[in-house]
Assembly symmetry: C2
C-alpha cells in the first residue's frame, strides 16, 4: 500500500506503521476503535482527488477525518481502509468584508475561523464545545451545533458553499457567495451533515455576521430541575431569544466545581447559564428580564458577570462539563437526545427515573434552549454487566425521545454509535430514501461505508 | 380518465372539460402554457397518495400546483398529465406557542400563515411578493424569498418539517419540532426548493419568531444608481442588517408612480426602500444611521414614514412594481438573477448596457440587500424579431451573472424557463448529481417531469 500511495504523495504525508496508526483508530466516542491500513495527509484538493481515484480503482474504502473530536464514531476507520486526514489543509483563503464571507480549507480549526472573523469586527457564530481543536470540515460534515445555537442556529445556517471531491474522484463546487440561490436541488444542504458518506469536503465558504456589540452572562441555580425548565419556558414565552440557555444538573455541577473551582453552589439541583448578546441597550434589558424570570421561578442564587473575565469564568462552568465528568469513572458515554422545548422538563425527569431503575450514574447537561440534552453515562466499559444496563437504559431513553417527537441526535451525528436507533426514528418511507441517495451518489460504497446505515 | 379518477375522488374534485382546464394551463410566467388531461383537487393526504399510486400504475405524469403564481413555469402542466391542485388542503392545524411552530396543510395562503402567527404575537418572516395569494406548499417547493430576506432569510430557514407523498405513493415525514436534528441526511432540505420533482408536499411544519416590537420605513431617491448601490454597501459595511433594502430603477419608479400615485420623484434615477425592525431603540438608531449614510451618498430625497399607514404606502412603491410594469407592454418577462452583493452596481450597469445594445426596455428592481435583481423585459411576445433580441439579451445577462459568481435564479426557481441556463451554472460534476438524485427518488420520472432538467 505504501509503495502505491507514494506515487501520489510525499513519504511524510503517509503513515503505515502499526504504532503510527493507533492515534487515528478512534475519535471522541467511547468504546469504538478500528485499524486503518494507512493514514494520509493530503495538502491540496488535487491530492484528495487522486486518492479517491486510487481508492476507487482498488475498491479500498476511505474514511475522512479532521481532528477526531467526533462523538458518534463517524471518523472511526474501516478495517483495511485508508484514513484521509485533512488537518494539513489549514489555510484561511479569504475574508471578504464586502460580502461578509470567509473561505477556508477543510482542516482549519473552528476557533481560527472565528478569530479571523473577529479581526474584521465579524463573527462566525457556530461554537461547538470542541471548537478550539475541531476542524471546520468536520463541523460541516456533522452540521455541528454549539452553545449559541438558540439564537444563531447551527453550522448549516452559515455554509454558503463548498468544494467537494465526489466518490468518482471528480471535484464539484456547491453553492456560491449569493445570499439567495434556488438553482437546482440544494446539494450543499444534502452534503452538510452527511458525515463524509457522500463526498470529501475540501473547502468551505462561510457566512459571517456583524460581531455583536455587547454580551452579558448570567448564572442562576435552582433547588429543583422543574424551576430551571420553567425559567427556560418563561424566557421563550416572553419572546426573548438569548444566544445561550445552558443547563447543568447536580451531578454535573458538583463535578465541574470539583474540577474548575469557580464557586458553584454544590447543593443546587440545577444551574442555568444565560447569555444575551447584541446592542448594549437590548442586552441590558434582556438580561434584566431574564433575571426577573429566574427570581420568579425561585432561583436560589443569581450571578451577573461584572466583566468579560467573569463571564468567561461562568461560561467555563458549562464548557468544562464533559472534561469534568470524564474524570469520575473510566468510561464516559455522552448522549445527545433532543426534544421539542415543551418536552424538556419531562424528558429530564424521565432520564432521572431511568438512571434510578438501572442503578446507573447519568449526569445531565445541555443546550436547554434548544431542547438538546447530553445525558452522560459515567461507567466502566470493562464491567460487562454494568455496560449491559447502560445499553438497556439508552434504548429506553431513545424510545422515549422518539415517542415525544424528538431526535436521537441533535448535534453529534449518527456515525456508528446510533445506526440502530436511526431506523427507529426514520420508521416510515424516509429510511429507504437515505439509502437510495447514498447508492446513487456513491454506488461503490467507497466513502465512510457502514456509517449512518448499511446499504 | 374521469371515470377512473371518480373511483378516487368525488366528481366535484375533478375537472376534465377543455374550458375548465384552461386556467390551470399556465402560471405567472410569460409565454408558457400546456394542457393537462385532468385537474384534481384532493382534500386529504390519503387522496394525494391514491392519486400518485394511480398515476404510477398508468405512467401518467403529475404536476403539483398551488395558486399558480410561479415565475419560472414550474407548475405548467405536462401534456396529457394530471395537475394535482392543493388549494383545498387549506387548514392551519396548529400554532404551538410553546415551541414557536405552526403546522399547516400545503394549500394555506402565505398571508394566512403570517396572520395566524401575528395573532399570537409571532411572525412568519418569508414574504414573497405574491404572499396574499401564493400557497405555503408552493413557497416550500420553490424555497421562496421575499422582501425581508436580507435579515430573516428565505423559506428554507423556516421549514422544520414536512409531510410528503413520494413518487411510489408512500407517505413520509421529514423533520420534526426539534430546533436541532442531525439524524441522517437532511431530506427536508433536499425537498425544499425541489419544485415538485421529488415528492408532493402535503403538510408543513414552520418555525415562527417573536414579532418585532417596532418597524420604521425609509425611502430615499438618488440621481444615479451608483449612489444607491454605494448606500447599500455602506449600510452593510456599517454592520447594519436592516430587514429590507429594496431597489427600483427610473423606469420602474415612473411606472409605479403612474400606477399607484404615491408622490415618487419621477426624475430620480434610483430609489431605495429601507426598513428596520426590532426593539424600538435599535430601530430608531438604525434608521438614523441609514438616513445619514443615504445623505452622505447624495440622496436627492429622503422620506421617513411617520406612521404605519405611510410605511405601508412607501412599501407599496416596491410591492406594486411588477403589476405596474405589466401594464406597459403586452408581455412582461421578469428575471431573477442574483449576484454577490459586491457585484451589484456593475451588474446593474451591465444590464443597462445590454438593454441599449439590443434596443430593449429592461426595467430593473429587486432585493438589493440580497444581490437579487429582477430585470424586467417589457416586450411583446407576438413580435418575433423583438423576442429574438430579448432572448439574446437574456443569455448575455445570464452569462455575466455566472461569470461574477452569481446565480441564474435567486428566488423564482428553474422550472421550464431556466433549464438551459442550469447546465451553465452547474458546469462541473454537480450537474450529474442532480440527475442521479432525481432518478434514485423518482425512477419513473412521474413527478413534474421535464422541469429543472431532463433525465
Amino acid at each position: 500500500m505504501r509503495d502505491q500511495l507514494e506515487k501520489l504523495l510525499r513519504p511524510e504525508q503517509i503513515l503505515t506503521e502499526r504504532e503510527d496508526l493507533i492515534p487515528y483508530g478512534f475519535d471522541g466516542t467511547a468504546m469504538l476503535k478500528e485499524k486503518a491500513i494507512a493514514v494520509v495527509f493530503p495538502e491540496t484538493v488535487q491530492e484528495v482527488a487522486s486518492l479517491v481515484k486510487f481508492a476507487k480503482a482498488h475498491k479500498t474504502p476511505i474514511v475522512t477525518r479532521g481532528s477526531g473530536t467526533g462523538l458518534s464514531g463517524g471518523s472511526i476507520p474501516v478495517a483495511n481502509g485508508i484514513v484521509v486526514c485533512l488537518v494539513r489543509m489549514d489555510r484561511i483563503l479569504e475574508v471578504d468584508t464586502r460580502n461578509l464571507t470567509l473561505m477556508a480549507e477543510a482542516g482549519v480549526l473552528t476557533q481560527a475561523i472565528d478569530d479571523a472573523a473577529a479581526a474584521e469586527g465579524l463573527i462566525y457564530p457556530p461554537d461547538p464545545g470542541s471548537m478550539k481543536i475541531s476542524t471546520i470540515g468536520g463541523n460541516v460534515a456533522n452540521n455541528s451545533g454549539g452553545l449559541r445555537g438558540l439564537k444563531y442556529g447551527v453550522t448549516r445556517n452559515y455554509v454558503m458553499g463548498m468544494e467537494v471531491v465526489l466518490p468518482d474522484g471528480e471535484t464539484a463546487w456547491l453553492g456560491n457567495k449569493c445570499v439567495k440561490d434556488v438553482a437546482g436541488y440544494s446539494l450543499k444542504d444534502l452534503f452538510i451533515g452527511s458525515e463524509g458518506t457522500l463526498g470529501i469536503v475540501t473547502k468551505v465558504l462561510l457566512r459571517l455576521l456583524p460581531r455583536p456589540q455587547a454580551r452579558k452572562t448570567l448564572l442562576a441555580t435552582f433547588n429543583d430541575i422543574e424551576q430551571a425548565a420553567q425559567t427556560v419556558s418563561d424566557i421563550i414565552a416572553a419572546k426573548i431569544i438569548p444566544c445561550t440557555l445552558e443547563f447543568l444538573d447536580q451531578t454535573t455541577i458538583r463535578c465541574v466545581e470539583d474540577f474548575a473551582k469557580i464557586g458553584l453552589p454544590i447543593e443546587a439541583k440545577a444551574l442555568l447559564l444565560m447569555e444575551s448578546d447584541g446592542p448594549l441597550s437590548v442586552v441590558t434589558e434582556e438580561t434584566r428580564r431574564m433575571q426577573e424570570i429566574a427570581e420568579k421561578n425561585h432561583a436560589i442564587s443569581l450571578r451577573l458577570a461584572a466583566n468579560n473575565e467573569e463571564a468567561v469564568q461562568l461560561a467555563t462552568a458549562r464548557r468544562s462539563a464533559f472534561s469534568a465528568l470524564a474524570r469520575i469513572r473510566p468510561t464516559t458515554i455522552l448522549e445527545d437526545v433532543t426534544v421539542p422545548r415543551s418536552e424538556l422538563a419531562s424528558t429530564v425527569r424521565f432520564i432521572e427515573s431511568v438512571a434510578q431503575k438501572h442503578h446507573l450514574t447519568i449526569a445531565n447537561f445541555g443546550h436547554m434552549g434548544d431542547g438538546n440534552l447530553h445525558p452522560t453515562f459515567l461507567t466502566n466499559e470493562r464491567d460487562v454487566e454494568e455496560v449491559e444496563r447502560v445499553e438497556l437504559a439508552m434504548v429506553e431513553i431513545f424510545e422515549y425521545t422518539i415517542a415525544v417527537g424528538g431526535t436521537i441526535t441533535g448535534e453529534h451525528g449518527v456515525g456508528l454509535a446510533k445506526k440502530a436507533q436511526l431506523t427507529a426514528q426514520f420508521a416510515d418511507a424516509s429510511y429507504p430514501l437515505l439509502q437510495s441517495i447514498k447508492r446513487s451518489i456513491d454506488p461503490d460504497n467507497l466513502l465512510n461505508p457502514g456509517k449512518l446505515f448499511d446499504v
